[in-house]
């Protein structure tokens, strides 16, 4: 009994210590004197690695998810003679939920795991220590540009995901299954609100971007500098970010749309 309580207490403390040191890491890397000339080339490079290279997978999965939504939605809605409601169904589910969430999950798998492995390996090969030896702060030089790149590019990827998903729904619904072109867009426009749907979805993706990038960087930075340590850190990045995204999504949905 006492042992169980001790274990609970120890686990709680270690979780809190983890959250605390992750916050300190994030704070130290992004707060400080801005050095735009030095940071900008690094940021561009990371935007390319994190954002541009994730674009293809995001666009293709967005297109297919939109097409599946169109197909499934049509088969159900046509029973009620309500196939004009296909437009709002596809666009609202993409803008509010699937766009931010699926983008965050794919982003955690595609870019988050890469960030963790890269920083973990930098640590294992003592590149981070060498930077410190040269009086370069690795948090500012290595972690900060990666954080900003993830935080900037994921919401942009989510926007692309929603847009191309809606186009996928349009291809299947209108051009293949024969829903009326005008009704598809006009019923969609009557139901989608700029602030309520698009902006809230964008805020969601900002939160997810923060969480996913943060977890990836922290896991890489604190990875045990061995092969199994880096592999475990990479796995934890994907698992923790996915769980955090799905859990936070429920909380955010409850706040925004209830």
């Amino acid at each position: 009994m006492i042992n169980a309580l001790v274990k609970l207490g120890r686990n709680t403390l270690s979780v809190l210590a983890g959250v605390g040191s992750a916050s300190i890491m994030l704070f130290q890397s992004i707060v400080g004197k801005p050095q735009p000339l030095k940071m900008f080339p690094l940021l561009i490079r990371q935007l390319y690695v994190v954002g541009v290279q994730s674009m293809l997978i995001i666009l293709i999965s967005g297109l297919f998810i939109g097409m599946v939504l169109g197909l499934q939605g049509y088969t159900i809605l046509v029973d009620f003679g309500a196939e004009q409601a296909l437009g709002p169904m596809v666009s609202l589910s993409l803008l509010r939920e699937l766009g931010p969430v699926v983008t965050a999950l794919l982003f955690a798998g595609r870019a988050g795991s890469a960030l963790t492995a890269e920083i973990g390996l930098m640590k294992a090969t003592e590149q981070l220590s060498s930077l410190e030896m040269m009086a370069v702060d690795p948090l500012r030089r290595v972690v900060a540009p990666r954080f900003w790149a993830g935080f900037i590019s994921m919401p942009l990827l989510a926007l692309m995901f929603s847009a191309i998903g809606i186009y996928g729904g349009f291809i299947v619904g209108v051009q293949w299954l024969g829903v009326d072109d005008g009704a598809f867009w006009s019923v969609m426009q009557a139901n989608v609100e700029w602030g309520q749907d698009i902006l809230n979805g964008f805020i969601k993706s900002l939160v997810f971007a923060l969480v996913v990038t943060w977890i990836a960087l922290y896991k890489g930075y604190t990875a045990e500098p061995t092969s199994p340590g880096i592999s475990a850190a990479t796995t934890q990045t994907v698992v923790y970010s996915s769980l955090a995204v799905l859990g936070l999504d429920f909380v955010l949905t409850a706040i925004m749309f209830s």
Partner: protein, 156 residues
């Protein structure tokens, strides 16, 4: 890969995101004038608002001119009072106008149908904060069925 190519690709990436945002804003979201820009307030009392909700449209002849902004109970008899934000583009409703709660289609959402009344020398125009005097309440299906059954019972 040279820095220039990388910068170019990042530029393409950001441009694609902006294009997606523009597409969502212009093609997907609601852009009708009635929900943006300057509005003024009209209120109307109903006996029963049925399934009317905040943000339900206010239509004149099927054209959206505004939205319901709040629904409350008022007075000692607890009458529902509906506050509507109407676009200032349509600011000349006479006080003989009628507000009814209608349903779009058999199962569709409910909206406020505003019908402009006649105008002569003695009729004033409704201004900001005024009440639409004539109203028709929502038709509640259960009440209709009840009346129908009742009349059937009387005949038989």
């Amino acid at each position: 890969m040279t820095t220039r190519t990388m910068e170019l690709l990042v530029g393409v990436f950001v441009a694609a995101a902006i294009a997606a945002l523009v597409f969502l804003a212009l093609q997907v979201a609601n852009n009708s004038d009635a929900t943006r820009g300057e509005t003024y307030t009209l209120v109307a009392k109903f006996d029963n608002i049925g399934g009317l909700k905040v943000r339900s449209p206010v239509k004149v002849g099927g054209v959206v001119v505004g939205r319901v902004s709040s629904i409350q109970l008022t007075g000692e008899y607890y009458e529902p009072i509906v506050e509507m934000q109407i676009s200032t583009q349509y600011d000349a409703f006479p006080e003989t106008s009628t507000a009814s709660i209608l349903t779009s289609g058999l199962l569709g959402e409910q909206y406020v149908g505003l019908e402009p009344g006649f105008i002569d020398d003695f009729v004033m125009m409704l201004e900001d904060g005024d009440e639409v005097p004539n109203t028709n309440s929502a038709i509640v299906l259960e009440n209709l069925i009840g009346q129908f059954l009742f009349s059937q019972g009387e005949e038989g």
